[in-house]
Symmetry: D2
Subunit: 349 residues, 4 copies
């Protein structure tokens, strides 16, 4: 067993980490860190638990540490981070001096020597770790996963991008309130309403997606070269981001081929049979009225993205449209970091 810890353990994504790591065959939680307000308390006493499933017994008695490397035992190998951005920018580098940090925070994602990885999409970016350790003189390192909306979208673009040249992508999101944290969206803002703005989200989708689909030139990332524009909206859904996607290729479309490319897409995590890897990263539904967040967010334990309404665009040449749903705090956050760690554990450690 690899000993792991969670930074930001009392928050919503922190709780998902704990839920997903409970009963994990290779990872065992031995450290939980949070703010000074929680440090020193039993995890159960420090935490208002938000998830439908009850808090795992195994973590209740763990005493919460300060978010400081000196507070974490040296026998911990991997730290999962769901720290707030500003905090992560300061703290994660300190942890990376001796620990592996698998981070869901956005702070370090676009640093040149920090791999931003979805295992099914660009596992080869892990090679960048070498540069990072050399540059910074760290014994540990940081690996990051993208923003929640980006992950779900990129998983569906990858099998297309592998087979065709993409010209344009237009994406409009309908995102769950859990993405903003437990207290992020007041009920007064979302009951009988929606909010057409999520700070920084469109910029992340527009840059991270191209980065992830890019190539390594030496150990530098050359982003993919097509255009992708996003508009992001918050709707009255608890978990599960929905995205409406329009794509133009530079060639004729056979919609069945595209469907097959998506439905049959598999990659390294499936080959390595990683514990958290979904059998199929993309599930394609035929029903008119799917995917729906409540019905599809938990597909394959919340790690698969569900696509539906895949249809030829009746208006634009070489174009098609579809709708996707992905679980924002599992595949889009905690599960993403864990899958990164599983890949590292299997291929690097």
């Amino acid at each position: 067993m690899v000993n792991v810890g969670v930074l930001g353990a009392t928050g919503m994504v922190g709780q998902r980490f704990i839920q997903l790591l409970d009963k994990h065959p290779d990872f065992e939680i031995t450290a939980l860190a949070a703010s000074s307000r929680s440090a020193g308390k039993r995890y159960e006493d420090a935490t208002t638990w938000y998830l439908d499933d009850a808090m795992p017994e195994s973590v209740k008695d763990i005493v919460v540490s300060e978010t400081d490397p000196s507070s974490i035992s040296n026998d911990v190998d991997i730290l999962f981070s769901s720290l707030p951005t500003e905090n992560a920018a300061v703290v994660e580098p300190k942890f990376a001096e001796k620990f592996i940090v698998a981070s869901n925070a956005s702070a370090m994602r676009m640093e040149k020597d920090v791999p931003l990885v979805i295992p099914e999409v660009n596992h080869e970016f892990l090679d960048i770790i070498e540069v990072q350790q050399k540059n910074r003189g760290w014994d540990g390192f940081i690996v990051t996963n993208p923003n929640c909306s980006t992950i779900a979208l990129t998983l569906t673009l990858k099998p297309i991008y592998d087979n065709y040249d993409i010209n344009r992508v237009y994406v409009s999101t309908m995102q769950a309130v859990s993405g903003a944290g437990y207290n992020g969206v007041p009920s007064m803002a979302i009951v009988d309403n929606l909010v057409p703005f999520i700070g920084g989200e469109e910029e992340k989708m527009e840059s991270e997606t191209l980065h992830l689909l890019g190539t390594l030139d030496g150990l530098e990332v050359k982003p993919a070269q097509f255009g992708l524009t996003a508009s992001c909206h918050r709707v009255a859904v608890l978990d599960g981001h929905t995205e409406s996607v329009f794509i133009e290729l530079d060639q004729d479309i056979n919609i069945d081929d595209i469907k097959n490319d998506m439905a049959n897409f598999k990659s390294l995590p499936q080959e390595l049979d990683l514990y958290s890897a979904p059998k199929n990263p993309v599930i394609v539904k035929e029903e008119d009225n799917r995917p729906q967040p409540r019905m599809d967010r938990n597909a394959d334990g919340g790690m698969a993205v569900t696509v539906g309404r895949l249809r030829k665009d009746p208006v634009f040449d070489n174009s098609f449209k579809y709708v996707l749903v992905g679980h924002n705090t599992i595949r889009g956050a905690a599960g993403a970091s864990i899958l990164n760690a599983e890949l590292i554990n299997k291929t690097i450690l």
Copy 2:
């Protein structure tokens, strides 16, 4: 006062007609028609009232008529129709033999000799009435308004289309449940969920919008020639459709010019000072997090469309994006038919 009636008077759009016509300075409701189940009863007894405002006193005692021209008194001039499509296809032509029918139904919208009209956009299409009456030998006529999502979108496109050549429009909608009628969307389908499909809606948006922005060639409509593709979704909002719009022009964008074009847009209904005409058909908001359906759907009595997040597209040349909210059962249905009737009353009768 012009005597008017409502066909489909007990349904949700029928009730909006009644609400908006109550206290109307030029129109007086003297006839209400509905299905045989309701016919013969007092309106109050026949109707489960759905709107927040109470049922107007003035209609409570009106005895509901059969949906049949012979049941409607000859001194009625205009009939507002919110009949279901299949029903409208059969019944509206019969009424048009002697009455003016201002219809919100989709059945006759794309008939060559039936004007599909938004008064601010293409009032000149009313000239087609002449052809219709000649073709069909009717003393009355039918005028239609577009689908709810189309109206809101087209009102925002018109000031752009008047000033620039549009290349492409991508629109993704987040539509209110009232658009499906009172019983249309079960709560089990929409609480903590959304539904990414609305039958026929995308096709209507794609064809009606270009039709409305088209020109009259003789008395035949030549649709606008740009491409517009739509993806339509139902969300947990009671009233007010939200649309996320991406536009590419064939020239450079000055976003302030576009903002001004929209904000200053006025047309014939404003000039004629029609009773239901909004002061500004398009209201442009500067706040990041607007428009929101609950906050903006009732702008100018629900007859104005609110635009926000108007921004240059950072990715595509000559492109910009915005979000709009329009009230689907007021500006997008009953109010649309009434404004058509007010225009007819002022310019034709």
Copy 3:
């Protein structure tokens, strides 16, 4: 394995039966019956699946039967019924001529010779089956479970009633929309709203609860003699009924004793270790803000009722109050019938 079937298999409770019976160690679904519209089709083709978990593979290919005893193979032993009341009244007796019918329908509940049973509360009422078979000349029999709100309430009253004399119970419910069936509550009725009426519900709670807590006099039920009054309301919750309960005993209250009575309550299903029996039928939470339907409805697979805010009444003598949450379509419907069948299977068959 006992072969079982489901009547009303395509509806919402029917789907819960299928979900709960999949992987059952003792029961195997071999028959699914529904209306003529569905009969003859594969279950997967006949059904719009509503539950978050996917349809079990094992039932997809079962051909749906007519709801008629002659359409059901003789090697089926138990039929679970989620038929609508009027239908159940006619059809269940026909099935009972040769099958065991474990029914969630209300039609036969208050018949003198039909046991209305919650295994933890009044398992001895199964003795009435003997009378039923004699009276009606049936080889099979009908056993029923109570209304969803009644079951949850009665499970919490039983440990109190066993230890004290109850004078009065006042209960006000906040019930989930799934209780009305998938199409039962339009979204227009419940978003930003609640509905203070559920037809027949209060009457069922007021009579069934006393019946269940009653005693057998010979083979006739003598209902419990205290007063219980209910007010029932529908709220915007998908699953899980919440009930606010006020109780007056005829003696002094020690609130810790009552808490212990509830928390330690076990009965025959726990002793017999029935597969669907919750470890503790009543779970008592200490947190101020619990139970909550989304957080507590799935306690012990949805078969336990969660009580919270158990507190001495500061106003009335000998009185206390609490709030409970129970899963209305699991413990309150399909799970209730299955637990009845498990008890019958263990003790009678």
Copy 4:
């Protein structure tokens, strides 16, 4: 015109004050106070406006004052307070040295020399002001209105209490999220959920109601002597508290008499024709499925309470039950303070 100000002007109840005072025939807003963060800014710049109706033009340019008597001009006569409790306890007495304070805060409600008043219920309690001014040596004074749930309930109890002896009242509430302030209830807490706890609410209902229905003995309040117990719950409704009420009298019930007592109830505000007074403080609906918060909260401008499902209790003697809806931030907060001020303006100033 009487010059008035609002303390806590940027919050949710503060905004209701402004909305209701705009166009008021007797009161003119000339001062708006808020926290230091807002002080010195134009009201429009200091405020995120939450209400569906737009911010009134008349207040946009008012410069927000510090919440300090020295910052408020001496020509202001009445200050409406929606300050948080702890803040109100310190600040309101300072303002009362020279201003009239009509407060919605709970801080001073149960002080012996501070009148807690609903004009329709106990206007005579205003006599206590004399004691307050003498005791404290103030030129101004404080008058308070009760908690939102209490007001709605007490308005319906008053016509009963005037005519019968009440033995017991059991009330279970389903309260709107706006009652907790804009950021009070996270959407994660209430979508597909409810919360069965509102801190201090039950205690307020239990004590304030009896206080309001009490009598003046000299200038001291003798509370009413019956028992009232409450259980309070938060549901996914924006505005409008719903309460399920069970009442036992000490005599036989004639349900029609009770209905008439409620429906015909009028009091001093109706006699004096106060501007904000509803025509009927209690509206009784006959429909089975009313009152509903979305449909009934705005009755008579949000100042009337709507009662429905008024029915004889089938179980307990001398008992009946009903459901009520009242607008929590209009009749239950800002409108309540304003009606108090109107009464003072008409009868004392």
